[in-house]
Amino acid sequence: MSSARLRVVHAGPLVSIQDGGRFGQMRFGVSASGPMDRISFAIANTALGQPETATGIEVSLGGLILECKEGAVSFAVAGGGFSVDCAGNNSTSWTVQTLHEGQKLSIRGGVWGSWAYVAFAGILKAKTWLGSTATHSMSGFGGGALQSGQDIAIDDARIANDRLGDLPCPAFAKPDGEAHVVTGPQDRHFARSSVETFLSSPYNFTDAFDRMGVRLNGPELHLSEALSIPSEPILRGSVQVAGDGVPTVLLADHQTTGGYPKVATVISSDMDRLSQMRAHDSIKFVAVSPGQAVAMARSEAQTRRVYLDELAKPRPSLNERLLRENLIGGVVSGADE
């Protein structure tokens, strides 16, 4: 089996190793981590025929440059509208190419999106913690943040000629300016007008945005009376409101418990799109019932499954590629939009 060795020529802040996430440990204070945009991560792996949760790299707007020092390996980039330059071949995210010895791969922020994912046809070697390579940013445990100058190794590196080409960017992977929420658990402690304000006013992302959460900018929310709640479990998607009345949406590396009241919680199927937004982007929160939230999660999962199942198939001929692109056309929006 061959292996490839890649040098990290440049890694911006918050560029890290991730896998599908470290689940089941919140009771010990450990949030799941894993990709900020889980579906784009799964797409990058699936495009190479890899398991959806195989270890890959999360690229922030800080960008990543890799140079292949030994061997050759096919890779996929998915997530956001980043700029990809592989040995002078320019494209956007949503591509499968091969990096050969001596060549450089550069991934930089592009027209939209905050996170892009690189998967490799092979096994990216990374440190595990509690059975997962996902980087937990607060502690640094897991695969870790990439540092300029370090080398990464890919075992069983393959060239996947039957996978090369552009990927259709699905509509569900793009932010649409909306996030559905179920109000609470502490909505009853907010002034009624504050809950209405939260659900009717646009909020903007600020640049206080990292893997733990994003602070919003918009109308302040007020409690109906001073409230001290005992520290309680929180989730990716919790919208907590600190004493200054400013809401924060908690993200992949959130603390597992907190004592701030939560006005609402974003439903899981909207979190990937939300995480791809950028500072100054505007978002509206739309309330749904718990039953509607479950129905939306199921419908979204079905749409994603159709896309991933088609993508999982290799594409041996041009005719089959065209047929496939027609089949998934229903869920595709042009990557050039």
Partner: protein, 220 residues
């Protein structure tokens, strides 16, 4: 335990709350329900996060929904508070010596006690793991005796080393990673709460009891 409140959270979780105020009995009831859920096969249940007055049941919305999970948990209620006699007990070494207890003098002063009396009170108490939270392995130990309870500092202090034993209000905590904190550091423990053992990666389960054993700096 009187009325239990169920609150749906997003599409994939249910908050089960026993009270809005912290008490020993409420936390023990949460722990009892956590144990009972662990022993029951509830379809689609992914993880349960117990806390001081409530627990969060996280489920797969493709397999179940809030109503079904609520019905399954209702079947386990009412439930009696967990008892210490049934909990696993741990004895944790702690060194209160100078150089390891930067806030001991301030705690003693605030409580109008000698440092030795603070150490004796802290070391004689029995603690219960009320919940984990904040950061990996941060086990909140309930049971700090009233005579040595002090509030949090007004501003956090940065770069507190792992292994610090600290107190705030009725709670005690041994840190696992370098973090800022507003709690008062009264000792240092060599115990590894994150064990490195894949079969039991965290030393305590929620609900376990803990006592401290004083060691001197030579034993660290």
């Amino acid at each position: 335990m009187s009325d239990v409140r169920f609150k749906p959270v997003a599409d994939h979780a249910l908050l089960v709350e026993f009270a809005s105020e912290i008490s020993d009995e409420v936390n023990r009831t949460v722990i009892a329900l956590d144990h009972a859920i662990a022993k029951t096969q509830i379809e689609g249940m992914q993880e349960v996060i117990p806390a001081l007055v409530n627990l969060l049941a996280v489920f797969d919305p493709l397999q179940t929904d809030h109503a079904q999970v609520e019905a399954a948990i209702q079947k386990l209620l009412p439930i009696s508070p967990a008892r210490d006699e049934e909990a696993m007990h741990h004895t944790v070494d702690v060194c209160y010596d100078e150089g390891f207890s930067p806030d001991l003098a301030a705690v003693a002063k605030a409580c109008n006690m000698s440092e030795e009396a603070v150490i004796a009170a802290h070391g004689a108490a029995l603690y219960r793991v009320g919940m984990y939270g904040f950061a990996p392995g941060y086990a909140y130990l309930a049971g700090v005796p009233k005579v040595i309870q002090v509030p949090r500092k007004t501003a956090p202090v940065r770069n507190i080393p792992a292994g610090s034993v600290m107190i705030a209000g009725p709670q005690c905590l041994a840190t696992t990673i370098v973090m800022p904190t507003g709690w008062s550091i009264i000792g240092h423990t060599p115990a590894k709460i994150m064990t490195g053992n894949p079969d039991r990666p965290f030393l305590f389960e929620v609900g376990d009891t803990v006592s401290f054993n004083r060691i001197r700096r030579e034993a660290l």
